[in-house]
Structures are given as C-alpha cells and as structure tokens.
C-alpha cells in the first residue's frame, strides 16, 4: 500500500523560539484566570472584614465616623439586646438535634426504596427550593391566632384552646425553631440519603449473615459510615442558624415580641438600619464572624481536610 499521506519533509525546520517557556505560560494563565475571583472576594468580602474591625471601634452612622476606641465594645457588651440575641441563638441551637435526627429517619425510610421513593424524594426536597421568605409567610399563617394551627386544634375538638404563639415571647421562639427545623429537613435529608447511597451494601449483608439485627446494623455500620455526612449537616445547619434565619424572623415576627426572637443576624440589621448605629452593628457582625469562624475551624478538625 503506498503512502497516501506525504510526509511533509520540510527542507529546513525553523521553529519559533519564544521568550516564555511553557511553565511560565501556564503560571501566567493561572494568575490571570484566578484574578477576577480573587478581586471579587477580596473586594467584597476581605476588605469589608477589615473595615468592620476598624469601624467597630467608632461611632459610625454610615457617613461619618468618630473614633471612640473600645467604649463601643464595652457599651455593646453591656447592651442587653446583644445578650438576648446570643441567648436566642443559643436556645435555637437546641433545635439542631431535631434538624439532624428527623432528616436522618426520613433518609433511612427513603433508603428502603419503597415503591415510588423517587417521587417521595422530590416532594421532600421541594420546600428547599422555596424562599425562606415564603416559608416564613406560611409559618406565620400557621402559627397566627386565626391561623391554621388553631384550626387544626379546633377541628380535633379542643375548641377552647387557642394559641397565639407568635405573640408570646418564649412560644414565638419555639415557633421559630419548629419552622427552622422544617426548612432544614429537605437539605439534610438529601445529604443523608446520598450518604446512605454510598454505603456498600455488602457490609450490611455480611452483618446480617453474622446474625445482627436491624438496630444493631444501624448502630454499628450505618451510623459510623454516616459520620462525615452528619458532621457536614451539623455544620451547615448551625451556619444556617446564624445567617439564614434572617428571612424567617423578618417575616414571621420582626424580631419580636420585643427582642424575644431577635438573633444575632437580625440584631445586626436592626441595630444598623433601624437604629442607625453602624458602629455597633459592625461590632456585632464581627462577633458573628468569630462564632462562625469557630464553627468552621471545628468543622475542619472533625471532618478533616476539605480538599
């Protein structure tokens, strides 16, 4: 068979010698490609952190700032609102176990692969796609005096009992907690379900052959495997508790009654925009940052390297 592709035997081979080696080109490309991201993050996240630190030492109304040193700090720590907010965040932390346990149960149920489980899965995750604002509005309807919860109670025959959860301090917090757990069910269920899916079924089978009962299997095989997922869900839930709760509070209670349902994330907004005290709000922001930072460090320790 004759050669149908002529080898282009160039009489002289003179390649261009460029100034940059391949390695340099790669590095240059790397820097250029990463630059926009770096700029965005530094400009809109990094710099504000620095500014927050600076302005926390000042009396600031957004336009002018006067340095008053650590008195902002001392004032803030004497402010009962701060402690109320921190206390509220702390109390709400009690809802986290529920926000983990319930999705875990649901995920286990889904994992059994009953007929139509995929449809169930879509349904369970549907509320996650909805804005917390909308969920808050619905929750407000649910817990209100003329709301759905009371309708149910009346329908069940307890017509003399009526709640007005959002009107009472401690009960409002509980209502908030319940709503929070509800909103987290979707994401955490999905997370745990994926975790269960990555579990090697042959482990379970081996245990069953060894004679282990269902509960035993769950405790000794399933749970340990899910450890990483549970830790991730824990961190995500706590972070949501400290930031995403804002929408729920805004819509359900406005922080009230009084400051009963004001958490850190809402306090910052309230102090800065309702009271105009930017300096103190910046300080609160820093405190929030430190708290989430601690959670982040704890996460890295527990889960190990994220890479």
């Amino acid at each position: 068979m004759s050669a149908t592709i002529p080898t282009t035997a160039t009489p002289t081979f003179t390649p261009r010698v460029r100034r940059m080696t391949l390695k340099r080109r790669r590095q240059l490309a790397g820097v250029v490609f990463a630059l926009p991201a770096i700029a965005l993050v530094v400009g809109f996240i990094g710099i504000p952190i620095g500014q927050a630190i600076y302005y926390s030492f000042t009396q600031w109304n957004g336009l002018t700032s006067t340095w008053i040193g650590t008195s902002t700090w001392t004032q803030a720590f004497h402010n009962t609102n701060l402690w109320t907010a921190l206390r509220n965040n702390g109390l709400l932390l009690l809802s986290v176990p529920f926000a983990l346990a319930i999705p875990l149960c649901i995920a286990v149920l889904l994992h059994q692969r009953v007929a139509g489980w995929r449809i169930f899965r879509s349904i369970y995750f549907l509320p996650t796609a909805i804005s917390w604002v909308v969920l808050g509005l619905v929750a407000e309807r649910f817990f209100a005096y003329q709301g759905t919860l009371n309708s149910i109670i009346h329908a069940l025959g307890f017509s003399h009992v009526s709640t007005n959860m959002l009107g009472y301090e401690s009960e409002a917090l509980i209502a908030l907690g319940i709503t929070f757990v509800f909103t987290m069910i979707g994401t955490n269920t999905m997370l745990f379900l994926t975790g269960l899916a990555t579990l090697d079924p042959s482990l379970e089978e081996a245990a069953r052959i060894d004679g282990a009962g269902r509960w035993r299997i769950f405790r000794s095989i399933t749970l340990p495997h899910l450890r990483r997922f549970i830790q991730l869900a824990f961190v995500m839930t706590v972070i949501a508790l400290f930031s995403a709760l804002f929408s729920l509070i805004f819509v359900m209670t406005g922080g009230g009654p009084g400051y009963a349902t004001t958490t850190m994330e809402f306090l910052i907004y309230e102090t800065g925009f309702n009271q105009g005290d930017f300096g103190t709000a910046a300080l609160y922001g820093l405190i929030l940052f430190v708290i989430t930072g601690i959670v982040g460090v704890v996460q890295l320790r527990l889960i190990g390297s994220n890479e």
Partner: protein
C-alpha cells in the same frame, strides 16, 4: 405471623409513614393554595372560595415587575459567578502557580463568612460607589458571595480531569486560553449546571441583599416585595399567598429540572 406477611405489613407501615411525611412536607403548599383562593373578605370572615385574589393580584403586588427584577438579578449574578468561577477553578486545580494553594484556601474559607458579619461595611461601600440605585450593587454582592462556592466546586470537578487531556491540547497547538475555551468548558457542563441550580435557588430566594442593596422600590425582587408587604400588615393575605406561589414556582421548576445535578453538587466535597 409468617415472615412474608410480616414483611408485607412492614412495607405498608413504611409506605404509610412516608405518606405522612409527604403530607407534612406538602402542607405549606396546601396552605398557600387554599389561602390564596379566597378573597380578602372571605379570608377575614373565615370561609369561601374565590379567584378574586388571583385576578386582582397585579394591582395589589407589582408581581410582574418584581419577577422581572428577580430574573435580571439572578441571571446576571449567575453569569458573573460562572465566568469568574470556572477559570479560577481551573486555574487552582490545573494551572499551579506560586502560592496558588494558599490563595485557594483563602477563597474557599470565604464561603464561611455570613453576609451579616460584613453587612455594614459592605452596605456603606456599595452606597459610596453609587451602586445602590439599580441592580448592579446587588448583583456584585451576590456574585462575590457565590464565587467562593463556585470556585470550590469547579476546582474539585476539574481535579478529576486527566492532565493528559490538557497536554494533548497543548501539543496539538492550543494555548492555555484555547484549552480552557475549547476543551475545558465543553466538559464542564455538569459542574456548570450544578453551580447554576444551587446559586439560582440561593439568589432567587434571598431577602437581605435585595432588601438593602436595591433601593428603588420599582426594582425590587419578588422576595423583598413579599417580605415588605407582609411586614406592613395591611396587605391582603390571600394576595400575599398568591404572590408567594408565583415566587416559589420558578425555583421549584429549576430544582425539578436539575435534580440529578443537585445531588452531585451537594456531595462533591465529601467523597474526595
């Protein structure tokens, strides 16, 4: 009881409990639908059925406008997040340069910063830059908040791309920009979809940024519109519920359409 029957009963109990959970999860939708299908007077008095709230929706809430605003803000932010995050993710995973690991860690740890922590300075900065009239300020803030996650996801995804592929492109004659555009972007489609879905839900449903960074009431996104009206406590509740449904639909459609990418995206950090 013979074991087979036992198992069958077990299955039914399982199915039953799942139905119960489904009912609970769908309950908010039920409330929304039921409440919206009343007129205001019917709602206050307690009973009745009416399309009135829906037909007069646009006069109570500037729905069309707000949905448009949400769409503009969402799509612009996501566009920026993708255009910034994909190249950066590629750079950090394949184009090693000095200190790239450190910079990468810094960017990824920025994921942990909640907006409220930097809210005040952010607000002041954006205002001073004159970006609060109009969408641009909010878009930039959303983009900045979504970039760390986007960079993280893309870099994790690209780490699975074999180096040989890139080298083949180089020996064939491409420069690094060509490699990114012709080889990397086409195979990054699943990652792009994941980032898009997750960020869409995040941004479309967000309240705080839209509330503070978009000053013109006519440019409000839908979540802000609903929240503000609800706080006013003078709005017709059925209308509010109707508006909520309108707000919820796009996010749900996006979620249902891209379900499989969502699962992949949520767990991409874990398996590694």
């Amino acid at each position: 009881m013979p074991p087979k029957r036992q198992r069958k009963i077990g299955r039914w109990i399982l199915f039953g409990s799942m139905m119960v959970v489904a009912v609970i999860m769908l309950y908010p939708f039920w409330i929304m639908i039921i409440t919206s299908l009343k007129s205001e007077s019917q709602f206050l008095s307690g009973g009745g059925f009416s399309w009135l709230s829906w037909s007069t929706l646009t006069s109570v809430i500037p729905i069309g406008q707000e949905v448009l605003s949400s769409t503009i803000v969402c799509s612009s932010s996501i566009l920026i997040i993708l255009c910034v995050g994909l190249p950066a993710g590629f750079a950090f995973s394949k184009l090693r340069f000095r200190m790239s690991t450190v910079v990468f860690l810094v960017i990824v740890s920025a994921m942990m910063v909640p907006l409220q922590a930097i809210l005040m300075p952010e607000f002041v900065n954006v205002t001073k830059l004159g970006l609060t009239g109009g969408y641009f300020g909010a878009i930039l803030v959303y983009a900045a908040l979504g970039t760390p996650f986007s960079v993280f996801l893309f870099s994790t995804y690209f780490r699975g791309v074999p180096d040989e592929l890139i080298e083949a492109g180089i020996v064939d004659g491409l420069g690094y920009f060509g490699v990114t555009w012709r080889l990397i972007v086409p195979i990054a489609v699943p990652a792009i979809a994941t980032v898009t879905v997750l960020q869409f839900i995040q941004i479309w449903d967000d309240l705080l940024v839209g509330l503070l960074f978009i000053q013109n009431t006519s440019e409000r996104p839908i979540t802000v519109g609903l929240a503000v009206l609800s706080a006013g406590r003078t709005t017709s509740i059925p209308a509010l519920m109707a508006g909520s449904i309108v707000s919820a639909v796009p996010a749900m459609v996006v979620y249902l359409g891209f379900q499989r990418y969502l699962v992949k995206g949520l767990t991409m950090g874990i398996d590694r």
